[in-house]
């Protein structure tokens, strides 16, 4: 799957060549992720694979798993403070903060269905971190900035107006193409 992302990311980076000075700040990885998700789901590209609905609302969490623990499977490439210990949830920013427009992506293996999921790690922005929030630092599949979409050492609030780093969420946005 790195190939897919490298293509997408190169496409992203191409825009820098034509208009780095004026437009690059407005290029949203958030819209990229959203589009990717929609396009992938809508055109049955990669992530249109069955999963067990019987698991219900916790389709992606097994019994006894704790999503405020850094060991939780979705956090395999998360470097940051968990939003679900900051007043938000695993997929929502805390009140008063803003969602980052861009994100990095991890590929994490769900032990409950044996599948690899694409996880979008968005930062929430515009506030300092919550004092006693949980900080996690995992780097599976992580790459330096030459694969920007896989890079977790950078503040992903970078395309927002308000740059303060608040916390990080982990959304499932697709199934990895194995």
């Amino acid at each position: 799957m790195f190939d897919i992302f490298s293509k997408l990311l190169n496409a992203l980076d191409k825009t820098a060549e034509t208009g780095a000075r004026q437009s690059a700040r407005r290029i949203g990885r958030r819209s990229f992720i959203a589009k990717t998700g929609v396009v992938l789901a809508g055109t049955a590209l990669m992530p249109v694979l069955p999963f067990d609905r019987s698991l219900g609302g916790s389709a992606f969490a097994g019994e006894g798993e704790n999503d405020t623990d850094c060991d939780y499977w979705r956090y395999c490439a998360l470097d940051g403070n968990l939003c679900n210990t900051s007043g938000g949830s695993t997929t929502s920013c805390p009140p008063g903060s803003e969602a980052s427009k861009v994100a990095w992506v991890g590929t994490c293996s769900n032990p409950n269905d044996g599948k690899d999921y694409l996880v979008s790690y968005n930062d929430c922005c515009g506030k300092a971190t919550v004092a006693n929030s949980t900080f996690c630092f995992r780097s599976e599949g992580e790459r330096p900035g030459y694969r920007m979409g896989l890079h977790n050492d950078i503040n992903w609030c970078m395309a927002n107006k308000n740059l303060g780093y608040h916390c990080t969420v982990a959304m499932l946005v697709g199934l990895a193409d194995e």
Partner: protein
């Protein structure tokens, strides 16, 4: 954006090779932003930062779980509106954080959404002091906010919330601390000569002539802590040496109503800390942070006990052991909940207090890692 979209579509088009064989399509999760914090009473813990963003943790007062935070500038102060739905903070922003021109800002936050409603720039004379209950206050009618200044000459910025701006700077020479009166744009301040002076401001920003009390305390032999608690129509102060001062600010000239020692017979014990008193209205009981082996300079020592004082009987009801807090806050109801903040550990402990057991405090919950310089607690019930 157009360039990107086209490029992305093209790229994705090339990749659209995997067959569709799903029964139920995978639905990508979407990122949202929580609109409101969880309901229920809030506990605010302010951690002062002198080289970065001061942070106010907002916890559930029921179980100390985290609801979110507020981020402000350097050396933040905080006060709640009377309905506790709005939080006001004062803090400083220098151009280069620790140098360059400084702006002081009053922020108005909506508590339910932890979001900024307004920002009002105030005098840069804003006093950069340790978080202090009586350094930022609001008038009884919620119209005026009072901000403590120091240059080191003392003065008070008066912000008219209706006008949305600072309307006055009131000089308060030799006096310190803000004790809003029960009504109007009036406040008192403790003075270095042992008096308490009343100041009041008119709607146009003009100030009435300050009214000085008679000498109420002796700054050398029985100095008062800055923090006061409002008990009905009176203000409660404590001295370093364990004398409780009950003061009336009903009239412009503040008067000493009563004074008694609550440490008599308790050799070596004295009050200490920052926000060291917490008054429970329903029971007319005052909780005070107390340390043993008191001596000159121990008045900010962490507490080893919290004493529950019956203000009517003027006696200590119970001495509960605690884990080194310097700041307290108590709920107002019949079954008080007490919060105690240990600044060295950045820990807050929640206690349930039993009125049937002489107001003994029993720990129920603890929250940790709330900061390095967290000495201010506020409860929004």
């Amino acid at each position: 954006m157009r360039v990107l979209s086209l490029t992305l579509s093209a790229t994705l088009g090339m990749l659209a090779v995997a067959p569709a064989f799903a029964e139920e399509p995978f639905v990508p999760e979407r990122l949202t932003v929580e609109e409101k914090i969880k309901p229920g009473p809030n506990l605010f813990v302010l951690d002062s930062n002198w080289a970065g963003s001061s942070n106010i943790s907002v916890l559930s007062a029921d179980d100390l779980s985290t609801k979110g935070n507020l981020s402000v500038g350097l050396v933040g102060q905080m006060v709640l509106s009377s309905d506790q739905k709005t939080a006001y903070t004062a803090s400083a922003y220098a151009k280069r954080i620790v140098y360059g021109e400084t702006e002081a800002v009053l922020h108005e936050f909506d508590v339910d959404t932890l979001s900024i409603k307004r920002e009002i720039v105030v005098s840069p004379k804003f006093a950069q002091v340790a978080p202090s209950f009586n350094s930022l206050q609001i008038s009884a009618d919620d119209r005026y906010v009072f901000v403590q200044n120091a240059t080191p000459a003392a003065s008070v910025s008066v912000v008219d919330l209706k006008a949305g701006k600072q309307i006055a700077e009131v000089p308060t020479p030799g006096c310190w601390g803000l004790y809003p009166a029960l009504e109007g744009a009036r406040f008192s301040s403790l003075c270095g000569d042992g008096t308490i002076t009343s100041y009041s401001v008119n709607e146009d920003g003009s100030a009435a002539k300050p009214v000085k009390s008679k000498k109420i305390f002796d700054v050398d032999s029985d100095p008062l802590f800055l923090q006061a608690q409002r008990a009905g129509k009176e203000l409660l102060f404590t001295s370093y040496h364990g004398n409780l001062y009950r003061v009336s600010d009903k009239a412009a000239e503040v008067k000493l109503v009563d004074k008694f020692s609550y440490t008599e017979g308790a050799e070596g014990w004295a009050p200490g800390g920052f926000q060291l008193m917490a008054y429970n209205k329903a029971n007319n009981v005052l909780f005070v942070a107390m340390h043993p082996d008191a001596e000159d300079g121990s008045h900010k020592n962490p507490a080893e006990e919290v004493w529950a004082l019956d203000l009517k009987a003027k006696k200590v009801l119970y001495r509960s052991p605690v884990e080194g807090p310097v700041s307290l806050f108590v709920s107002s109801g019949k079954a008080p909940v007490l919060f105690a903040l240990n600044d060295e550990e950045g820990e807050v402990v929640r206690y349930e207090v039993d009125p049937e057991a002489k107001f003994a405090a029993k720990p129920t919950d603890k929250a940790e890692s709330l900061g390095d310089f967290a000495v201010l607690l506020q409860l929004g019930e």
